[in-house]
Amino acid sequence: MIVLAIYVAIFIASFVIVKFAVHKATTDYTSLKTVTFGDESAVTPNRIASVISILTIFLLWGAFTGSRLVPGFMHAPGPFMGDATFTYTAEAEGGTTDDATVTVRVFEVGTEVEMPEVAPGDGWAKNDVDTVGAWRSGLIRVDRNDELGRDQGHTVIAVNGTPIAPGGSVMTEFGRVGMSQKGTLNFEPAKGWQMEPIWLPPPEAVLARVGEIAREGYRDSTLWEHLGYSLFRVVVGFFFGALVGIPLGYAMGLSNWFRGWFDPIVEFMRPVPPLALIPLVIIWAGIGEVGKIILLFLAALWIMAIAARSGVSGVAISKVHAAYSLGASKWQLMRYVIVPNSLPEIFTGARVAMGVCWGTVVAAELVAAEKGAGMMIMVASKFQLTDIVIMGIILIGVIGFGIDILMRWAEKTLVPWKGRI
């Protein structure tokens, strides 16, 4: 909730600041429009907003994980670390009460820690020491070193002067002191607002992981091998899907018999999400490369067939008539009119198919694989290696985005007439 509130606050504040600080220097046609609200063509992404948006995400990520990349004053309050102290008041047989101090050293999990040293103090209740990891909690048996133990009816009746009973708790400046039903104290140091690295590691930890895995690999394969395998499966599966799907789509667009024969199959397979095929493909082909490629082949096949079919149906009849009147044969019509005319549709289909294949391969690797981006994050999650999981997600996103950019670029160079007819 706090994060969302901060996010919204940054959104509004940066909008206001940019609005007043940056005067529109552009003098294009849009800047002369008087009606812009409601005119969709006048809405272009504000690049300043995009940059601030990305920075905000990293800033929030860094601030709430105590990242070293974010200046210290911007950090959200972290967990308490160091020596925490509180006093307890105990009672024993004979009606005497006595005070003693507990010193708890709160340390960063994963580092060496030494017991703090304190003088035992006077009275029959002696001062105690203990250690607790940050974000953890620990039982503290304060009666153990006291002269009157449980056999003498040792009971803690107050912490820092505040009365406490079994099941109750007292907040101190260092954290919460609770009492179990049996009367044992436990200490839970203040957690602050930051995320524990096991939930969300700071950006530099993820970055360091990228470096480490790129150098040393993970699970017997380097990072590039994992990503390369995923990409390889997508490219091969898509290639065969297109190789079969496009001619199939053409046949369906040109012949009654083909249309009739394959319509039910294509229309049935189209709404089946490729993810639903994973179990069957594993049963039939195992978890190796063949199974993955069959799955991606099937994912791409229907999309490409439908794209090619609608590319053929989309040809203006006047173009077909014109070609025949100019003396073209059926084969020439196919080669010079039908195929080029269907290219824009095929490219749209290819973009969709590539996106679906990429999503499907990651999902399939999550289920079962020996190598691949999905397998990497799945295995890492089992060992609570959150930094690898986050790294994997970011890389999968970047590659998916890269594929789409590449397809768009190819579309622009190969079918420049798209949308301009």
Partner: protein, 268 residues
């Protein structure tokens, strides 16, 4: 026998709901070689259907079209077509569009290059030959379509409202171009239009068709096409007969339109 003859042509469309439309009934007509004929009539009177049958895209339910002594049974390079919206191939440059016919016929580049360049000159697109067709204006696209048709050297050129989508000024220039090409190439031309002025200007013969069923209503022989060759078409329009004919034909078409409206009101 050269030229084109249309013999007792009838066309009935059977609609899926069981009714049928008699688009053409018993149309007979012959066109001499080198003649330019314009066809006029209220919309829905079967003009496009007639042209599609002549082009060979549709088979008539009755009658036949005979061309150069043989019966028309499908599209052929001897009958070229110019459509309302160019129907150009966007994936080819202007030059590739124009040379499409010769290339499909298997001619080598050195055999067609001269003629194609000449035609591009004639239609004023010499500087645009490497351009993509979607970069051209509507009038320029229509000129590409004309050049493409001529490059294939057909005996008859069929045009279905070829200038209908152009603005008035461009249209006037294109009308002059069509007349010039007609005189220079000596092609037989059938041109459908819904503009009475255009029909008068571009028709040595003018055919007025009537709807329901589509049939020939009247035929005129006119001097304006010959007058218009090499002359400003605005001068031709000043000819006293021109205004006379225009009013006469306009009235005729008005009456037909009103009759259609009346019939629709009755049946409604």
């Amino acid at each position: 026998m050269s030229g084109l003859s249309i013999e007792n042509l009838s066309m009935r469309f059977d609609l899926p709901n069981g009714t049928s439309v008699q688009a053409l009934k018993d149309v007979t007509l012959s066109i001499k070689e080198g003649e330019i004929m314009s066809v006029l009539g209220p919309s829905g009177c079967g003009k496009t259907t007639l042209l599609n049958i002549v082009a060979g895209f549709l088979a008539p339910t009755d009658g036949q079209v005979v061309m150069n002594g043989h019966r028309v049974s499908g599209p052929d390079a001897e009958r070229g077509m110019v459509f309302q919206q160019g129907a150009l191939f966007e994936w080819m440059s202007v030059r590739d569009n124009v040379s499409f016919g010769p290339r499909m016929a298997g001619q080598r580049e050195r055999d067609w290059a001269g003629n194609v360049d000449h035609l591009l000159d004639v239609v004023g697109l010499r500087d645009f030959k490497e351009k993509a067709v979607y970069e051209l204006s509507g009038g320029m696209q229509q000129r590409v379509a004309l050049a493409r048709c001529l490059a294939n050297d057909p005996d008859v050129i069929l045009m279905d409202e070829p200038l209908g989508a152009l603005d008035a000024l461009t249209r006037e220039k294109m009308q002059s171009l069509v007349l010039r090409l007609w005189k220079e190439t000596g092609k037989t031309i059938i041109l459908i239009t819904h503009s009475v002025e255009e029909a008068l200007l571009l028709g040595e013969r003018l055919l007025v068709m009537a709807p329901r069923p589509g049939r020939i209503h009247r035929e005129y022989n006119l001097p304006f096409a010959d007058l218009g060759v090499g002359q400003d078409l605005r001068e031709v329009k000043k000819h006293p007969d021109f205004a006379l004919r225009r009013e006469e034909i306009l009235g005729m078409i008005w009456d037909m339109e009103e009759e259609i409206m009346g019939r629709q009101e009755q049946s409604a």
